[in-house]
């Protein structure tokens, strides 16, 4: 079994040091080899369960209700400009 920690960390947008990559590779492989035991079960006829409530398509009424003010929304942001969140350049 193999796991490309560098690739996974990139997918997860998680900056890791080289030491962390080495440490996590070993630990993740141990965990993955433990969960291998699921391969022993016959799941051919088993449906999937992604949630157990049985609820489907829960919607709410399309009605406006009070929400946070602009100042409140920005109150935890370390970087904002003219009442907007400031984000890193992506293009």
């Amino acid at each position: 079994m193999k796991i490309n920690v560098k690739h996974i960390a990139k997918l997860a947008n998680l900056p890791l040091s080289v030491e962390e990559e080495i440490k996590f590779e070993k630990q993740l492989l141990e965990i993955l080899s433990y969960v291998e035991k699921l391969k022993k079960i016959d799941t051919k006829n088993a449906k999937i369960t992604s949630q157990i409530t049985g609820l489907e398509n829960v919607t709410s009424e399309d009605k406006a209700s009070p929400s946070l003010t602009q100042d409140e929304s920005l109150s935890n942001s370390k970087s904002n400009h003219n009442g907007l969140f400031k984000v890193p350049k992506i293009l």
């Binding site: 996974i8 997918l11 997860a12 996590f24 433990y34 409530t53 946070l68």
Partner: protein
């Protein structure tokens, strides 16, 4: 007798008879928090605010206003959003986060008069079984400070066990209420998935997260559920089920109640002394008229593996929102355990691995749920140990994540099946507390309280 040792019920009686004041209750709790500061049960203590609220409560009591928790100091795991009060989730990523709104449960508790005395320590993001993953230092077991209190709702369990608060709200995604309850000698309830609103509580694994609480006894546990349960339009995963009168179950006794004992939970790996204690407790319920039946939950062996795929998958998705832009700080500030789970989850969801891991785990989840469905056709409740071992020494499992994960072996099943579980204290071994787990079908919390209370009555 110190006021902070009272149950909620007794404290409410004393308050309404004006035998003591809410200010005195808050002072008694605060002084215990200060006296045992070394347990590190709290991240934030709201002394000034709680005292002010207590003064207001005393006025209301004088005016004969009667509310279920009026004047009662409680604590909240630091993953409950509290308007204007710092909420860290035990992680430095949220070190300076001040929520702009309250979780639904916080609002419900305040509406019935509860006083928030502080925010309790926990494993960061509720990831852990020992309380040692907190970025704010580990919490210690109040019965033996060299041992873990259990996690992830570590500070919540300790705050009730050490009489620092009358009840504490926690969260249980794979055992995070039941395990610390059993390690700290308090009652812990993991309600049915969807019984209590998750809105405004930092999400760990959204299909598994259950919102529950710690109390000193079963009566108080029933009382707490009766005020926290119920539909919330802000949480779309809540079935429309009426909130029952849980109190009415407490005096029913166990005559004729069918209790299932699943052989898989008493197999190899379980400390023999714990096994003997649980069996002894079941026998005493039998003497009170309960019917004991041996049952099998054949897929139990696969539950932990199933859980450690589904849970990290959902964790990786939930923690993706922390980008340090709208709140919190950058992703390198995640601790080791969060990083491990984010990567494990990302891996099992990634292209080429989804079917082999995530899809397969969701199929196994169906089989585990079916085991319980079948079992509950034969019995009313199931009784098991909470943990295969006693509370372990601080530091003992921190370098071995897999070993730590395996401590949840008897608790993750209830989260996968969405059923409720109650952990009740059954005594001490080597001066460390032991708990017993009572499981029931979805929305059968009343039945769990019934059995829990019958057990307490035997031990009076």
């Amino acid at each position: 007798m110190s006021l902070n040792t009272l149950s909620i019920k007794k404290a409410r009686e004393g308050l309404s008879k004006r035998q003591f004041s809410s200010v005195e209750l808050v002072r008694a709790c605060i002084s215990k928090i200060k006296e045992r500061k070394n347990l590190n049960a709290f991240i934030t203590v709201c002394e000034k605010e709680a005292l002010e609220k207590a003064r207001q409560s005393d006025k209301k009591i004088k005016d004969r206003i009667d509310l279920p928790l009026l004047g009662i100091p409680i604590s909240l795991k630091d993953i409950y959003l509290t308007k204007g009060i710092r909420t860290t989730a035990g992680s430095k990523v949220l070190d300076d986060y001040i929520p702009q709104y309250n979780a639904t449960v916080v609002k419900k508790l305040e509406d019935v008069g509860a006083i928030i005395i502080g925010k309790t320590n926990c494993d960061a993001w509720a990831h852990g079984s020992s309380g040692e993953n907190s970025d704010y230092g580990h919490t210690k077991n109040p019965w033996s400070e060299a041992h873990v209190p259990g996690g992830s709702s570590s500070g919540s369990a300790v705050s009730v066990a050490a009489k620092m608060s009358f009840a504490s709200m926690g969260s249980d995604t794979g055992g995070s209420i039941r395990l610390p309850a059993s390690f700290c000698d308090v009652v812990g309830l993991k309600p049915t998935y969807g019984r209590v609103s998750r809105y405004g509580i930092v999400a760990m694994a959204s299909s598994l997260d259950s919102i529950g609480h710690f109390t000193k006894n079963t009566d108080d546990s029933a009382l707490m559920l009766s005020v926290t349960a119920g539909k919330d339009l802000n949480d779309s995963t809540m079935p429309s089920k009426n909130v029952e009168s849980y109190e009415s179950y407490l005096r029913r006794g166990v005559k004729g109640v069918k209790i299932g004992i699943p052989k898989e939970y008493f197999a190899l790996g379980l400390d023999k002394r714990i096994k003997d204690n649980v069996i002894k407790s079941v026998k005493s319920l039998e003497k009170e008229g309960a019917k004991i039946e041996s049952i099998s939950l054949p897929n139990t062996e696969y539950a932990t593996a199933c859980y450690y795929i589904i849970q990290p998958a959902e964790v990786s998705s939930n923690l993706a929102r922390y980008d340090g832009i709208r709140y919190g700080s950058a992703r390198q500030n995640f601790g080791d355990e969060a990083k491990r789970r984010i990567m494990l989850g990302t891996y099992v969801l990634s292209s080429g691995y989804y079917d082999a891991y995530y899809k397969r785990a969701m199929q196994v989840r169906t089989l585990i749920k079916k085991d319980f469905d079948e079992a509950f056709k034969k019995v009313d409740v199931i009784i098991t140990p909470v943990s295969p071992t006693l509370a372990w020494k601080l530091g003992e499992k921190t370098s071995d994540p897999l070993l730590m994960y395996l401590s949840d072996i008897y608790t993750v099943t209830a989260n996968l099946a969405g059923i409720p579980g109650l952990s009740v204290p059954i005594g001490f071994i080597d001066d460390l507390p032991v708990g017993m787990q009572i499981l029931g079908p979805q929305f059968s919390e009343g039945k769990l309280f019934q059995v829990g209370k019958a057990w307490e009555n035997i031990n009076l």
